[in-house]
Symmetry: D2
Subunit: 137 residues, 4 copies
């Protein structure tokens, strides 16, 4: 698959669940040999922790981390991969107008797969996440 | 504080972040001696994992779990308590029109507090969550 | 199976791995309908965090939590159930001469099972753990 | 501090708790600018999951992961840093005679610090861990 086709396919899969259509993350790039996917999320007022500052709420950070982990798995596994466990470690307030997530596939197993996610807000590391997905045939 | 006043205060705090206003969870009851809070979330199409079935997306389950953990801490700690770590274990698909969360305070510490959250969808246990919050003075 | 037989079987399974023989936890009781198992671990100098005080090291607390989670699964599942994920939240220093663990089965699934573990030292809650096990046929 | 002095200091700190003396991990190298520490653990029968094969038990993997996370923090923080949360994701059986751990400092905060740990057995990735430590002044 070419990179463009892969990107398009990932974006389409991402956009299938109505919740993801509401969240509206963008698939920015796919590094197939490096097993990495980059996603981006533009700030909207509904995402905010704070009434007047651009400050991504922890719930949005967690949901976006889950999406990025899924995307890293989806490059190599074309079926549904339900999340089994999602762990999010918050390092700093996600202040800014752009949240970026890098999903990194750590293991694609016959029944269980793992992905790491690193989240930056306006270039600053704000959270680390790790997720386990069911990838049994 | 009477139960009614406490419920009202919790609901007001919950509704402060714009994201929570979008999510719109309801504080159902507060059991102060038992250190438990019950919240409820009515299904909306934006929450869905599936285009045609009422199926709460994992990202919504995670965000709601975080809110319920916060609520359990907020009964006993009146300042902001940023989430440090959020762990969500998904047990079953959250199929149904009503997601209920029970937040249980496990420790209120001088710098770190913990809460457990149990999530049911239409009466079935669908997820367990545990969160660590910063409660330093 | 009678309680005595079940206790004996659990203790035998527990004692199979050489590491567990070194650790030497005792199966105290099994509550089959409540899906709970109680284990106990007597302090030894090799377990200690501190040279002169009885203070169970975090590594011992984690290893004992894993054993208690396994025991809760083993009552209902007779095959090997490798740990997929172990999460330990430390609440207080484990000071004392006796560490008790209650393993609680939360879900016995066709491929994934979950157990919660509560750990007390001399009667004080010192840690909470949650583990995911592989229980596929 | 020179690398040799730093290595020696870390090894001494590591060897202080009686449990670590029993476990006996070796500090192999310290990469101060990269905020990484490499540790090694030689197989012993007491560590084993299996009576006849060299197979590091999950409890040993978890305890060693905690030690490696601590070491990564200890390079930059000279006081005690109690573990708050330890999460271990097991990827493959730890079969072999040498378990290696790389501890990577992800954040040194004023009250909370984080480290990632990657564990390999005879060159194969067998587990990923992440830990939160208390580093308040």
């Amino acid at each position: 698959m070419t990179k463009t086709v892969l990107l398009k396919r990932l974006q389409e899969e991402m956009d299938r669940p109505p919740f993801n259509r509401w969240l509206a993350p963008d698939v920015i790039s796919v590094d197939e040999p490096g097993q990495r996917v980059d996603l981006s999320l533009a700030f909207r007022q509904d995402f905010s922790h704070h009434p007047h500052e651009p400050y991504f709420h922890g719930g949005i950070v967690a949901a976006f981390a889950d999406a990025a982990g899924h995307a890293a798995v989806a490059v190599f596994y074309s079926k549904q991969a339900p999340t089994i466990t999602l762990q999010v470690d918050f390092l700093a307030p996600a202040l800014g107008r752009k949240l970026s997530a890098t999903g990194i596939l750590r293991k694609l197993g016959r029944s269980i797969s793992r992905a790491d996610v690193e989240l930056e807000c306006d270039g600053k590391l704000v959270a680390l996440a790790r997720a386990t997905f069911s990838t049994k045939d």
